[in-house]
């Protein structure tokens, strides 16, 4: 399988990358780890005339922790997140999500930013990004802007990142009481249902993000409302989890029926909440 011919550029700075995108418009595509784009190019679903490789841009490859806030560069790989001691202590959800992606080789190349921008409805990161209520920083020709997680995913394979823009950084508040529980499609490793839960016992509040179940990843609003202000005991968590697919029309395909996905959403939500609450 060969991609259609293209020209290749590896800019040294973000500004250089942005100006290449401005100059070439629709004919240019960004390359990060390549684990979504290259398969699409081999199938000729994507045929960019110019590939702009930002995978090694230094400014996008850091994990920073300061005052309870975490900033993760868009080009940090899943493997780097999975191996981060800092993140394991401060926000185990991120480590659990990264470890659950694909396989070792895929985690070594794939990046959090590339995965988010690709916005596969069965990708793992969206659940965590929603549950952590992340801020996503996007650079464009007019400067930088920040989008909240809730406004980021706009459709299947569609996000708030506009043509000519580059996702730079993901920022979250560290959440030690957090967890990810996933049921995967065995052959591909993609999520039939992945649930990220963040528990704030002091404020008596939870946030739940669910991927793989609906065409667009979502916050389980009914679960969150049911637990608002409640003592987060095991029984109440399990009862609230029963509403994890409320108001959602689940996906159905050869891997799982809509009913089964809704069932997984409920079961995995209960498990993720319980594991997060125990931390």
């Amino acid at each position: 399988m060969f991609a259609a011919p293209f020209d290749y550029a590896r800019p040294k700075t973000l500004d250089e990358a942005l100006s290449l995108l401005s100059k070439h418009g629709d004919e240019a595509r960004l390359l990060a780890g390549g684990h979504s784009l290259i398969p699409a190019m081999k199938l000729r679903l994507a045929q960019p005339r110019l590939v702009v490789d930002i995978g090694r841009l230094d400014g996008l490859r850091q994990i920073e922790a300061r005052d309870g806030r975490l900033a993760i560069g868009a080009m940090v790989t899943h493997a780097e997140i999975a191996a981060s001691r800092t993140l394991a202590d401060l926000c185990p959800l991120l480590v659990e999500v990264a470890s659950a992606i694909g396989d070792l080789q895929v985690r070594n190349k794939g990046t959090i930013g590339g995965s988010l921008v690709h916005a596969d409805p069965a990708g793992d990161w969206p659940a965590a990004i929603l549950a952590l209520d992340a801020e996503i920083e996007i650079a464009g020709p007019q400067g930088r802007r920040t989008v909240t997680a809730g406004a980021f995913f706009t459709g299947i394979l569609e996000t708030a990142v506009k043509p000519g823009e580059i996702l730079c950084e993901i920022r979250v508040t560290a959440a030690a009481a957090s967890a990810y529980v996933k049921t995967e499609q065995k052959a591909s490793g993609f999520a039939l249902c992945g649930v990220a839960a963040v528990v704030d016992a002091t404020a008596r509040r939870v946030r739940v993000g669910i991927t793989g179940v609906a065409p667009v990843p979502y916050r389980a609003a009914a679960v969150e409302r049911a637990l608002e202000g409640q003592a987060l005991a095991e029984g109440s968590l399990a009862a609230a989890a029963g509403q994890a697919a409320a108001g959602v029309t689940p996906l159905a395909d050869i891997h799982a029926s809509a009913d089964y996905r809704a069932h997984l959403a409920r079961v995995n939500t209960a498990r993720a909440l319980q594991r997060a609450a125990s931390r």
């Binding site: 399988m1 060969f2 991609a3 259609a4 011919p5 293209f6 020209d7 290749y8 590896r10 390359l31 390549g34 684990h35 290259i38 398969p39 190019m41 081999k42 590939v51 490789d53 995978g55 493997a79 694909g102 396989d103 070792l104 080789q105 895929v106 070594n108 190349k109 052959a187 591909s188 490793g189």
Partner: protein, 156 residues
């Protein structure tokens, strides 16, 4: 028409400089340009892991990487593991524990196991299986492969 790009890649300790078409996949570069045919083309869809090589010490599927992305990197392929004819401990493990039948997946299995053992001195059987998840074998049923990696870990 796309412009060729000059790349400099160190493979098994030797620097290679070539002009390549940007769409050339790393696995085809290794096999057809460099003549290193030990790295196998399996599924070409980043599922089977037969094409696994180490790029700067990390296992990657060379069918899902363009050769231009490896510019400036240090690669290790299956040909680079044995030293003066002495097998690498992982290769020796595959030999001793009969961890292959047809052998097609073996180079990829070995390269992934090399990264695992660089990261973890004595992985458990579960950790070995988890690390090899991206490498498919249709002959052995995996048990002997896990035995082989355990053997290699114990021998170091």
């Amino acid at each position: 028409m796309a412009s060729p790009v000059q790349i400099r890649v160190t493979i098994n300790g030797t620097l290679h400089t070539h002009e390549v078409e940007p769409r050339l996949l790393l696995v085809h570069y290794l096999r057809e340009v460099c003549g290193l045919t030990g790295t196998h083309v399996g599924c070409e869809t980043s599922l089977c892991g037969a094409c696994t090589v180490l790029v700067d010490g990390k296992a990657v599927k060379s069918c899902t990487m363009f050769a231009v992305q490896a510019d400036g990197c240090a690669l290790t392929t299956i040909e680079g593991l044995a030293v003066n004819g002495d097998l690498h401990p992982v290769q020796e493990g595959f030999w001793e524990r009969h961890a292959l039948q047809c052998g097609y997946c073996t180079p990829g299995m070995v390269m992934t196991a090399v990264q695992l053992l660089a990261d973890r001195k004595r992985p458990t059987r579960e950790e070995i299986a988890h690390a090899l998840r991206g490498n498919l074998c249709r002959c052995t049923g995996y048990t002997h492969i896990i035995d082989a990696v355990e053997h290699a870990a114990a021998r170091r």
